[in-house]
């Protein structure tokens, strides 16, 4: 039995497996996020089951208790128990994409109780402050990250934000996008949320919290459909757009957008 510990956004997860291939995948994939110390969460990953597909799409639904969720996709099946802080996962093959997808879902559920969200966004740290660049595929998340050579990358694809006492912190994640680089395992105070789109010039426009909320929610990674957990995610997002200034950011592919952000 191998036990590895991954720490993301202040939540440390012990990954336990008998499968040496799975252990290798976890060790390689989460290299910058391996940690030591007592785990908050525990995931047992079972050996591959022989390639039987579980479900065509991602399905996350309550299963056998208010805090227990079944999580299924074509390449994995598992359960997440939020109150016990345990999960189990069976894979069709020891694939890093499968493990990574399950971890994203696990963190999206686990973070709710700590008032955190997984957001489709690039995040970067500049001068000690974090900036979040939200948007769907093709909006420019990876481009913004690539153009920001003097910033620290937290993620170019999926960022984690946690809110407490009216201020927000943004955390580095190993959930990488087209840049194929994991973020750094660090956190910084979040000082701006930018809803990205390509344009002919750099332009920043302030958004009110209602519009910002409407633009943030579709970018929040969350699969469960139960009303109480959806409402909890809504409240975290609503608090976030009240606590952090939000903007529409139109940009063209050069680093000049930072100047516009600084002057906004």
């Amino acid at each position: 039995m191998v036990e590895l510990s991954i720490g993301i956004a202040g939540l440390r997860t012990a990954v336990i497996t008998r499968d040496p291939d799975v252990a290798t995948v976890v060790r390689d994939r989460y290299e910058g996020f391996l940690s030591t110390g007592p785990a908050d969460w525990r995931i047992e990953i079972s050996p591959p089951s022989g390639g039987v597909p579980f479900s065509k799409d991602v399905v996350v639904r309550r299963d056998g208790g208010p805090a227990r969720f079944s999580v299924r996709r074509h390449d994995f099946a598992g359960t997440v128990d939020v109150s016990e802080r345990t999960a189990d996962l069976t894979l069709t093959s020891p694939d890093d994409v499968s493990i990574n997808s399950f971890l994203r879902i696990l963190y999206s559920l686990a973070l709710v109780e700590t008032r955190g969200l997984v957001v489709h966004a690039a995040s970067l740290v500049r001068d000690g402050a974090a900036y979040l660049f939200c948007g769907p595929s093709g909006s420019g998340k990876t481009t913004v990250a690539r153009l920001s050579t003097d910033a620290t990358l937290l993620s170019d694809e999926l960022s984690i934000v946690r809110i407490a006492e009216g201020y927000a912190m943004c955390f580095g994640t190993p959930f990488r996008g087209e840049l194929a680089l994991a973020g750094e395992d660090r956190a910084a105070p979040l000082i701006g949320i930018y809803f990205l789109h390509h344009g002919g010039r750099h332009a920043v426009e302030a958004l009110g919290p209602k519009e910002a909320l409407a633009r943030l929610l579709p970018n929040v990674l969350f699969f469960a459909r139960e009303a109480d957990v959806t409402a909890a995610v809504f409240r975290i997002a609503a608090d976030l757009v009240e606590a952090v200034p939000c903007f529409d950011l139109s940009f063209r592919p050069d680093p000049g957008f930072w100047e516009v952000i600084r002057n906004a």
Partner: protein, 96 residues
């Protein structure tokens, strides 16, 4: 016409910003953005406030004639009901 009372679905989540509500329907994660009049109706959907009282308040606060206020309110209620955001009852509702 019998009196009617509106009750927000307990499955919704909502927040008011600058007098305008954003209401989330958890079934499909749609965010419904309400204007000031819609927000007044939504906030009055407590199971105890009669629709006639809501219409009277709209007339008073937004300077609308009663006929139009009633027509628009009923249309708005029908929309929210269709989306599963509230229920309409002919009797007073108890607090959950």
């Amino acid at each position: 016409m019998p009196e009617a009372y509106l009750t927000q679905s307990p499955r919704t989540a909502w927040r008011v910003y600058d007098g305008e509500a954003a209401v989330l329907c958890p079934d499909d994660s749609t965010l419904n953005s309400l204007n000031a009049v819609g927000t007044l109706i939504w906030e009055s959907a407590d199971g105890k406030t009669a629709v006639s009282a809501i219409v009277a308040r709209i007339c008073e606060e937004f300077d609308v004639d009663p006929e139009r206020a009633e027509r628009d309110t009923m249309a708005f209620i029908a929309k929210l009901r269709e989306r599963g955001l509230l229920t309409v009852s002919e009797t007073l509702q108890q607090a959950p």
